[in-house]
Symmetry: C2
Subunit: 357 residues, 2 copies
């Protein structure tokens, strides 16, 4: 029997409801594949602020470090929006990424045939879309210094952030992306703004250099503005995309929205070693929290990513992904993905349907 | 008779062909509205590099300064792609913006009913979309310092760019945006990344402050990742958008692509005083250059923006916009916007159709 210690970070809003479903699914999968999961829960985001005054208590980081993988649900809500930014829920998320060294963020955006009509794009444009965005997560303008609001000589304020990448930072995310492309269709598109930014010129040079080690991968480059256009114009041209932290934030959300059902999309954040963090792309949806209306499927698919990328249990991951497709196939839907003629289920009922599938 | 001196910058690729159509249209409009245009041509981009070694010769900047408005076609092409970045065509464009102090870039993205099927989005999602992106154009990470590629202590390279905005820079683009929103539907959405970037926090604070002077305008704020999503999910929620240089580059291109016909979209770049620059959003399309296949309509609509925003001749602008709608209505199309049952015209023939319309 394989034994894993999993840290659960339910967070805010609908977080606890969807996490409960994920845990149920994990228990069933554990039995089926003879894997034992030991769960430990910790505080993050608004819930942590309310309990301790900090969005990421050091006890939480310790608990995460002392585990094989971290399952995160969602953080944030109106309640904490007016706090100073270093004390807001988002600061907890950024601290978790930095604290665990999670430099690689994998965000798949795949059209599910059962939900294709949810896309705002025409069927023929998005049919078959299957994109993996590999986003650098611990560098770039999110963490670069100097940053802050400073006074100028004339007394007016000046806001400053710095977009920085070193060669080694580019290389390590580049390798993750080339490897990911190799497991997929063998096509990698690197996105930057090298016609304006020096940091992007270094990015483009290094990725181009690196491609010599991956002669089987077809590498292309796009400027970020053009990439945003092409995602809309002809998304099927993309397979794996690699880009920096800020561009990845924007483009992975655009790619996610192509599917029309952001409630279905998981993500994985990985470091060089140590536990990864697995979480849905959607937010904490405070408006429907506690009403058993949330869609737990992105959380459940994050469990599958955890099994695949964090614990190297691909069969268990497959079985979860198959169960999700099966409930969709049988017409089960939560409110965010409902369409005429389908069965409307709550969060908990969707979890039960999965377990029976 | 009103008299204007217009600088023409045909640039590269299809630039000269579409500029020729624009000049013909201006001549006809001039006669109709009793306006005299004096044209002076200057070099920019690849054409300037080939002739002088520089993408923006100082003579060009002088000619532009010494005119009432600048009409630019398009710059760039494969030929100049391997030059060092400060000698590439794009550097000429950035130099022109900085040199003329063009801090406000207006990019309308409006769905034309005649071309709605060109959109990759569903008809019901994009019908009636009419967005104006107001992009800050002479600040932010495009011009912030320090920038460059530096050596670290360990000898590896480090690429750096700096996103900077001062209060006065934010205020002046903010005012342009509030005024634009006032002339439109009275709704303004400011886009930033204030949950991560200090420069965005200052941006959000100032725009919020400024809104007290515009009590008739309904102001909202979105994070840039969410804005990219919302543009795809429900673009009709937007009227006027204001944002910084980099976010504006990305979002205005995404908004443009919503229409499905980027060959139709003009833009205006304005300073506090002095001539503005008016140019199509599309590029120089080197693959079809010199073949009389280009769509001149974005260039012609840029002439209309020049008349409206640069020369305060709204009636002349109206007449051009009406002529464009009329040729579309009568079924005339260039290759990029052709659909079954319509008349395929070349660049020059489209120009002639406009003149007769
Ligand atoms: C909440 C925010 C700090 C975060 C980010 O910008 O990275 C989010 O948008 C994401 O993409 O995970
Ligand atoms: C060509 C490039 C420098 C330019 C920019 O990034 O501003 C272009 O993309 C634009 O939007 O006008």
């Amino acid at each position: 029997t394989q034994n894993y210690r999993i840290t659960l970070l339910p967070g805010d809003g609908i977080g606890p409801e969807i996490m409960a479903v994920a845990v149920d699914v994990l228990k069933v999968v554990g039995k089926k594949f003879d894997i034992q999961f030991e769960f430990q829960e910790a505080l993050i985001g608004g819930a942590a602020i309310d309990a301790t005054g900090e969005p990421l208590p050091s006890a939480t980081l310790d608990t995460c470090r002392n585990s094989d993988a971290v399952l995160l649900a969602a953080i944030g809500g109106y309640k904490w929006d007016s706090l100073p930014s270093n004390l807001r829920p988002e600061a907890g998320l950024l601290g978790l990424r930095a604290g665990l060294g999670l430099f690689a963020n994998l965000r798949p955006a795949k059209i599910l045939p059962q939900l294709i009509d949810a896309s705002t794009l025409k069927r023929e444009v998005v049919e078959g879309v299957d994109i993996m965005v590999v986003r650098e997560l611990t560098g770039g303008i999110y963490f670069g210094k100097p940053k802050g609001i400073f006074a100028t000589e004339t007394g007016e304020k000046r806001g400053v952030n710095t977009m920085v990448y070193t060669e080694s930072e580019i290389d390590r995310i580049g390798r993750v992306a080339f490897e990911a492309a190799r497991k997929r269709s063998g096509k990698l598109c690197s996105v930057d703004k090298a016609n304006v930014l020096e940091v992007s010129q270094l990015w483009r040079d290094r990725i181009t250099q690196l491609s010599q080690e991956y002669p089987d991968i077809e590498l292309s480059h796009l400027y970020v503005d053009n990439a945003a256009m092409q995602l809309l114009r002809a998304p099927k041209q993309f397979d794996t995309i690699v880009t920096g932290n800020l561009f990845g934030d924007i483009l992975s959300d655009a790619a996610a929205m192509l599917t029309g059902s952001i409630g279905m999309l998981p993500s994985a954040s990985l470091g060089a070693q140590g536990p990864g963090v697995f979480e849905p792309v959607h937010g904490s949806a405070p408006d429907i929290a506690g009403q058993d209306k949330a869609n737990p499927l992105a959380q459940v698919l994050s469990v599958a990513m955890m099994l695949r990328y964090g614990l190297n249990q691909p069969e268990a991951a497959d079985s979860i992904e198959k169960a999700v497709l099966q409930v969709l196939e049988q017409g089960d839907r939560t409110g965010d993905i409902i369409s005429p003629g389908k069965n409307l289920l709550g969060c908990r009922a969707m979890g039960n349907a999965l377990i029976l599938a």
